[in-house]
Symmetry: C2
Subunit: 232 residues, 2 copies
């Protein structure tokens, strides 16, 4: 290591001498893992770094925290990881995350079978459920139409939705898809597809509650104006 470092540094012409320190720092940084951490710790840090939003620093912090916890607690976490992965699949009706073939929401007889709320992702179902306002059923598309990423209607659960609408004959299909370009495309596509069979609505876009008119972006404001309603 020291040999190769020296040879890299000697290869630098004198007029770039100020660069030497920069390069030393770089060389020092590579290969940190091998010597600094005991092997099982290094492996844990490496695995934790694969999680979203976890960089080398937080991976180290998490790993050192885990080493301090009692063994039972660490095992509970490991067990929870494996069990969640093994037991949770997609509901065969609505494609929401579920530990059973048909999810809790679809099985719930108290929920209104006459409305289907169409969302892009399971996390949208979770967000809507947290409002406790919606009492109908859901349909999770598994994404939005995005030709650039090679995602067409066939890659999503749109065919299953169409079939479900034909069988179940809901009174209303609510499209709750984020208003990005791809989201709009998806909304329009599904709207066209289902309009002949049922009433299709979409959620309102406008000023967020607690939001300040002054700070809202133009598109949101335009949407809020467009979606205005008579006072009652």
């Amino acid at each position: 290591m020291i040999g190769s470092k020296a040879s890299v540094i000697n290869a630098i012409p004198d007029r770039w001498k100020y660069l030497k320190n920069v390069i030393i720092v770089k060389v020092k940084h590579s290969g940190d893992k091998t010597t600094v951490y005991a092997r099982p710790l290094a492996r844990l840090i490496e695995q934790l770094q694969r999680l979203p939003g976890v960089g080398p620093k937080s991976a180290q912090r998490l790993a050192l925290h885990i080493l301090k916890r009692p063994e039972a607690e660490v095992e509970a976490l490991a067990q929870a990881l494996i069990e969640a992965k093994k037991q949770i699949g997609l509901c065969s009706v609505c494609f929401h995350l579920s530990a059973e073939p048909v999810c809790e929401i679809c099985r719930n007889a108290n929920r209104d079978n006459n409305t289907i709320c169409v969302v892009a992702d399971p996390r949208d179902v979770i967000a809507l459920e947290k409002t406790r306002e919606y009492k109908g059923k859901y349909h999770v598309l598994g994404g939005v139409i995005s030709p650039i990423d090679g995602i067409g209607p066939e890659q999503l659960t749109i065919l299953a939705l169409q079939r479900r609408v034909n069988q179940q004959k809901p009174k209303e299909v609510i499209l709750a898809i984020s208003p990005s370009v791809e989201g709009e495309t998806t909304t329009l596509y599904i709207g066209q597809l289902l309009k002949p069979f049922t009433k299709v609505t979409r959620i309102a876009f406008g000023l967020p509650v607690g939001g300040d008119l002054e700070y809202a972006d133009e598109v949101t404001l335009a949407r809020a104006l467009e979606g205005r309603r008579e006072l009652d």
Copy 2:
């Protein structure tokens, strides 16, 4: 749930009617977990929330990410957790994290036995090792003296350090403990204890490299002045 919510709301006098919405929001928020997540997912989110710096939102994000990953990857993470916890203990010589009875640094014959660098925590060893400047041995105290938290010298590995200095007879003991009130106490305590037997030094405190004089706090600046050295 709905019953108790209604009774809470009815108990509010009319002049505080505007409070009703606030309370409804609160009631809605409690008990989210039970209905929104499938059980194994809820358990995983709960476990992830025990990690430092992971709140309910990031726990949900991490859990949903994990569900999307291949089973082998999730198992590798679970395995790494259990193995790190099972295999990593403390080095019997220096009390750094180690997968073996004596850690890699203590076993390394190329490292200088004549210097012992005393730090509070294993993460300090990792930080110092990353500099690749230090080639001696370490001693991890396992904390700093803090009477308020009930941590005296006996709760730390100070006795072991004293014994080690008497046996190993190092030429220098470097104290590398953060300059908090407790850190200073610890530094002074160990300094008094070891001075009769060996040379005791402490790391320099001053302006961080890349730091701006203007933005440095007074204590740091005072330390930097105090620790000034003649130009060579």
